[in-house]
Amino acid sequence: MNWWKRLSRRNQMEAQLEKELSFHLEQHTAQLAARGIAPDEARRQARLALGGPEQVKEKCRDARGTRWLEDFLQDARYALRTFRRKPGFTLVALLILSLGIGATTVMFAVINSVLLRPLSYPEPDRLVTLHRFTEAFGESWGFSNFDFIDAKRESQTLAVAAWTYAGGTISEPGEPEYVNGRRISAELFSTLGISPLQGRAFRPDEDRPGAAPIAIISFALWQRDFGGARGTIGRTFVYEGKPYTIVGIAPAGFQLDGEADVFTPLQQEQSTDPRMQNRGAHFLRAVARLRPGFGLAEGRAELALIARHLAEEYPKSNAGVSMTAYPLQKEFIGDVGSTLWLLLCAVGLVLLIACVNIASLLLARAVSRERELAMRVALGAGRGRLARQCLTESALLGVGGGVLGVVLAFVSVHRFVAFWPGSLPRAEEVHLDWRVLLFAVCASLVSGLLFGLAPALRVPVRGVEQTLRAGARSIAGGSRRLHSAFVISEIALAVVLLVSAGMFGHTLLALSSLDPGFNVHNVMATRFALSPGALANPEQIRAAWQDVLDRARRVPGIESVALADIIPMREGENSLPYWTTATPPPPNQEPFALASCVTPDYLKVMGIPLRRGRFFTEHDRLDSEPVVVIDDNLAQHAFGTKDAVGKRIWIPALGPSPALVIGIVGHVRHWGLASDDQSRVREQMYYPFAQVPAPLLHFFSSIMSFAARTTIPPLNVVEPLRRELRGAAGDQALYEIHTMEQLVSASLARQRFLLLLFGIFASLALLLACIGIYGVLAYLTGLRVPEIGVRMTLGAKPLDVMRLVLGQSLMMIFIGVGVGILAALAAGRILNRLVEGMRPADASTFAITIPVLVIAALFASFVPARRASRIDPVTALRQQ
C-alpha cells in the first residue's frame, strides 16, 4: 500500500485499528474469565495490560508513516478555522507580513539580478577587465591605445579587446540628432562572445587607419531612424559629417557602460584623435576573455610580465605601471552593491520587527490557550504533536503572507528600479526568477517558524494538573518575561532604524550646507556639438566657437557665457600630471590635478571666487605666454605659504614649456558635495581654450560644453538658445542640458535616496513597535485585572494603577532603548564605511530620535494604562 492509499483510506484503517484492539481486549478478557476471574475484574486487568487504548492507537498511527501528512492536513484545517474565527488578527498579521516579505523580496530580486546572476554573455566567468596599477595612484581602468595593442599582441592567455566613449551628430537620415557612440576594436564582439543581430561584426582589416568608414548601429537606432527595415544593412548615414556604411545591427539592449547608438572601428580614428598616438593617454577600456586552459591567476601573471617589458621599453610613460585583470562582473556593477545590501539589511530588520510583533500576538493567544493545551496533553496528545500544531498555524500565516508578498513584489519591483537614483546597472535585467521565489518561500517559512516558535514552546510539559486547576487567572512569570523580551527587541530594532535614518538626515543636512565652491543659482550647462562642416581647419573651428559665444550672449535672459571641457559634478574629468621644477619627478610619481579648459568668462558664469591675481582675458592667446590659474589646494600643496602667482608649472600634456601661474581661485567640489573630500585628485587648475594647440582643436571641439549664467530661470533660455545656435546647416544640437542646481542635488542623490527609504523603514518600525507595545501591555494588563481589583480594594488610587502599568512599560522601553543604542552605534560604523560623506552617529542624532520613540511608546502604553485605572474593583473581584 503506498502512502497515498494509506492516506485516502484513513477512515477504513482507523476502523480496522479499533477492531484489532478490541479483539485483543475481548480475547484477553475471555481468557482471564476462563481462569475464574469475575468479568468486570477480567476486563480491568486486560485493559491494564494493554495500556491506555488511545495512547496505543496514537503510537500505531505514528508507526503508519503517513502520520505527518495526516497531522498536517488536520492542523491546517484547524488553523484555518482559527483564522476565520479571528479575521481582524489574521488580516493585520497578513498585511504586516506581506509588506515585510514583499519589500524583502523586491530587494533580493534586485540584488539577484544585479549582483548575483552572471552576465548575459556566454561563459561570463571567463570575461575579465584589464586595469593598470601604479604605486602612487592605485588602480584605474584607463589603457592607452599602444599599451592595448601591445598587450593584445603579446598575450597568450587572454584575447584582449578595447573600446572607448564617443558620440556625435547624425545629420542624415532625418533631423540632426546627437547620439552616444562607442569606438570598439574589431575583436570586441567575439571577445564578449556575442554576434550582431543582423549583418556582421568588424573585420580586423577594417579596424585600421584609412579603412572605409563603417558602423554597427544599435537596435534602438535601427528602429528609430530606419523603422526596423529589412534592407538597412549596406545603407549609409551621415555621422560627424562623414558617410558611414552600416554593416551590422547590435542585439537589443547591448550596452557598454550605458547604451550607445553608433559603434565605429577604434583604429580608424588614429589620425583625428591625438590620444590614439599617445602612450600616456589612458582612455581605453580593455576587456578580455581567458583563452581555454588558462585561469585568472595565469592571466594576471602574464599581464604583469607584459607590463614589465613595456616599462623597460617605454620608461617615460610606463615606468612603475603594472597591469592586472579582474572579473568583468565586478566592474560592471560598480559600487551599488553596498547600497543594495544595506537596503536589504534595513528591510530585513523591518521584517524581523514584524515577526516579533506577530509572535507576541500569537503568544498572547497561546498563553490564554494554556488550559486547552494542558487538557489535550492529559487526553493523550504528545508534546511534539501540539508544538507542531502551533508551528503549522504560524507557517500557514507565513506562507499566506509570502504569497501576498510575492504578488506585491511582482507589481512593484520595476517601479522600485525606476525610482533608483541615477542608473542602476543591469536594471533592464531585473525580474523575478526561481531564485527570488525560493528566497520568498524561505523568507516566509523562516518568518513563520520565527514567530511560531515562542507559542509552540509554551506547550506544557510538566505540571499539567496544576495548569488545569489554576485556570486562566495565573500567568506564568516566564510568559511575562518572554512578552517583555519581545517588546524590548522590537524597540531595540526600531532604535537601530530610527538612528540610521537620523544619521542620513543629519548627513544630508551637513552635506547640503557645504559650500560647493561656486554659485549654483541661475547657471545652466549643456554639451554642444558644432556642425561637422565647421571642423575643417583650426581657424574655422575657433571662429565657429566664437560665433557660438557671441550668438548666445544675445539671447535675452543670458548674462554671461563660457565654454568648458568639464563641468563640476557632471560626469567627465581630465586629471593631468604636473610638476613645479624644471627637472621632472620620476615617472608615475607626479602629483595630479584636475585640469579644465575654459574661456575667460568661466569664472563669472560659475561664480567662483578669485583669491589672487587675475583670470584669463582675450589677450591670453596661442601666440602669448602659456598661462594657468590654480585653485587654493594646488597653491597650498605646490607652493606652500609662498605666493604662487608668478610661479611656473610644467604640465607635459599641455606642451613642453612651463605655464605661468597668473591667478588663484577657490576650490570647487567637482566630484560632488559628498565625494569631493574623498576623491584622489583634489587639486585643480584651469587653462585657456584659446591656448589649445591647433592639432588638438578638432578633438577638443567634440568635448566642449557650454555654460551660461542667466537672469531668469536657467531652463527658460534653452529653447531660444537652441534656435539661436542651430547653425547655418541646422545641424548643431544642445544635449545633456542641466542646471547647476540639478547637478548639485544629483550629487547627493544616493544619500537622499537612502534617507528616504530608511525614513520609511524607520517609521514602519516605529509603528510596528508601538502596535507591539500596545498589544502586549493590553494583554498583560488584562491578565492583571483581578490583581488590580484587589489593589484598588486595598486603597490604591487610579493614578497608582496607571503608574503601575506605565512603570512596567517604561522598564521595557528603557532596556530596549539601551540595547538599541548599542546596536545603533555598531550599525552606524557600518554605514560610515559604506556611504561616502556619512557623518558618525552623534549625540544630537540620538537626542532627536530617541525621544520620538520614547514618546510614541509611552503613548501606546497610555491606553491600556488608563483602561486599567478605570477598572471597577467590584467587577474585577467578581471575575475571579
Binding site: Q16, K19, E20, L21, F23, H24, E26, Q27, H28, A49, L50, G51, G52, Q55, V56, K59, C60, D62, A63, R64, G65
Partner: protein
C-alpha cells in the same frame, strides 16, 4: 514469589515478533500470548508496544496482514511474514547469534583467567 522479569533488550522485540510469526499466520493477541509462553515469563513484553511494533513492521513490508475468521468465528487481523520479512529474520537471527557467541566467548575467557 513473583517471577523475576527483566526488560527486553533494545531492538529485540521486532526479532521476536518476526520469529513468532514465521511459524504461521497469527493474530496480535496470539502473538502476545506466545511471546509470554515462550519466554516463560522471564521477559516482560509490554502489550502496549506490541501493536505499534506490528504496524511498524507492516509499514516496512516485513509483514503482511489479512482479515480472517478465527476458530471461534470472530474476524481478526492475521499477520504473516513476507519474503522480505523472512530475509530480515534470517539476517537478524544470525547477527544475534554472533553477538551471543561473542559475549559468551568473552565471559568464558574471564572464567578461564580466574582459574
Amino acid at each position: 514469589m513473583a517471577p523475576l522479569k527483566s526488560d527486553l533488550p533494545q531492538g529485540t522485540l521486532d526479532l521476536l515478533i518476526l520469529k513468532v510469526i514465521a511459524l504461521g499466520p497469527v493474530h496480535g493477541y496470539a502473538i502476545a500470548q506466545r511471546l509470554e509462553q515462550v519466554s516463560r515469563g522471564v521477559v516482560q513484553v509490554p502489550e502496549g508496544s506490541l501493536y505499534p511494533a506490528l504496524h511498524r513492521l507492516e509499514n516496512r513490508r516485513l509483514l503482511a496482514a489479512d482479515w480472517k475468521e478465527t476458530e471461534t468465528g470472530r474476524e481478526a487481523k492475521f499477520y504473516r511474514l513476507t519474503r522480505k520479512g523472512l530475509k530480515q529474520l534470517k539476517t537478524e537471527t544470525a547477527d544475534w547469534q554472533r553477538l551471543i557467541d561473542a559475549i559468551g566467548l568473552i565471559l568464558g575467557m574471564a572464567d578461564g583467567g580466574a582459574q
